[in-house]
């Protein structure tokens, strides 16, 4: 698993471990979807077919459309698209799908940048959705109910999904502590300024102001 076939370089172990763990997370029941639904959704999303197969996955078409759009055309995601999905499928399912698709995008993005074949999605694990949903969160001029705070807490309506998402930062970019250091560098590897060039250019292409 995570051999990065086609990459001209070997990938460091912490990144491979993070992705292997994430694949296990995808395969297991989430707050509103079971493992089979989660993997079926992500499989469809890669083929831009989540809207078409939404009902077979167990979600409504607007949420499938959001999933496809978020993965393939993120610059066109807007409040109307997100709210349509949430109105049809509920906030928790919408947040779960948004988290899954966003995290898949990071793994697939890393593979594409290395010229590696995409990793096949995992076999699924049995079990019912967990129902682990935080209470009391509201839309704060946002499209979805979120706590006050920055981008890393945007999925905290679903605490476990939020924790998994935050766990990807360190291996892919920097931990929270490391982000406080303007002089952070991986050795061997990139320094902070070089990393921020990559992040900035990516964000410009994705039309993300942050």
């Amino acid at each position: 698993m995570f051999e990065f076939r086609g990459s001209p370089v070997s990938v460091r172990p912490d990144l491979r471990f993070a992705y292997t763990s994430l694949w296990g997370h995808f395969s297991r029941p989430g707050p509103t979807l079971d493992g089979q639904q989660r993997v079926a959704l992500l499989t469809s999303v890669r083929d831009r077919a989540a809207e078409e197969t939404a009902r077979t996955v167990g979600i409504e078409h607007p949420l499938g459309l959001l999933a496809d759009t978020l993965y393939h055309d993120p610059t066109t995601v807007d409040g109307d698209l997100v709210r349509s999905a949430a109105d049809a499928s509920g906030d928790p399912a919408t947040v779960e799908v948004a988290a899954l698709v966003s995290m898949l995008s990071s793994v697939d993005g890393t593979h594409r940048a290395l010229g590696a074949d995409l990793e096949p999605l995992p076999e699924t694990s049995a079990g019912n959705p967990t129902g682990e949903i935080a209470e009391g969160l509201k839309r704060r001029r946002t499209h979805l109910p979120v706590p006050p705070g920055p981008i890393p807490v945007m999925f905290d309506l679903l605490p476990y999904e939020g924790a998994v998402y935050q766990g990807l930062f360190g291996p892919q970019y920097m931990t929270g502590w490391e982000m406080a250091l303007d002089t952070f560098r991986r050795s061997p590897g990139l320094d902070r300024a070089q990393m921020e060039l990559v992040s900035s250019r990516t964000s410009i292409h994705n039309e993300c102001f942050y």
């Binding site: 978020l70 948004a98 993300c208």
Partner: protein, 110 residues
């Protein structure tokens, strides 16, 4: 973060390179890193020569780091879009010069 870190490393960063990657960034290997992002997202060129350039100038580990940072921001950008996290007006006002310079005013969505 880019400006602060470039200053900390005493690089002569030219922010205009973010808008036009033909302009030297002033950061070691910086233009190769921009080319990598463009090659993946906009298919400006094949990956192989960019990979070779990064490996030759910065080392194989740097290519892995660049790819994983790219992956991370593919994720973070989507999270920002789908959550609709608002951009504080103070931040916009404080960075208006940079916004104009990079021509990213259109990224502020409502």
């Amino acid at each position: 973060m880019l400006r602060a870190s470039s200053s900390a490393f005493e690089y002569g960063l030219d922010l205009d390179a973010l808008r036009d990657p033909a302009i030297p960034t002033g950061v070691p290997g910086g233009n190769l890193l921009l080319r990598l992002v463009d090659a993946v997202l906009v298919r400006t060129e094949p990956l192989e020569p960019v990979h070779g350039g990064i490996i030759g100038e910065l080392g194989p580990e740097a290519l892995v780091d660049a790819a994983s940072v790219f992956g991370n921001f593919e994720m973070m950008n989507r999270v920002a879009e789908v959550s609709g996290i608002p951009i504080p007006q103070q931040g916009i006002d404080r960075n208006q010069g940079l916004i104009d310079r990079l021509d990213i005013g259109g990224f502020v969505k409502h």
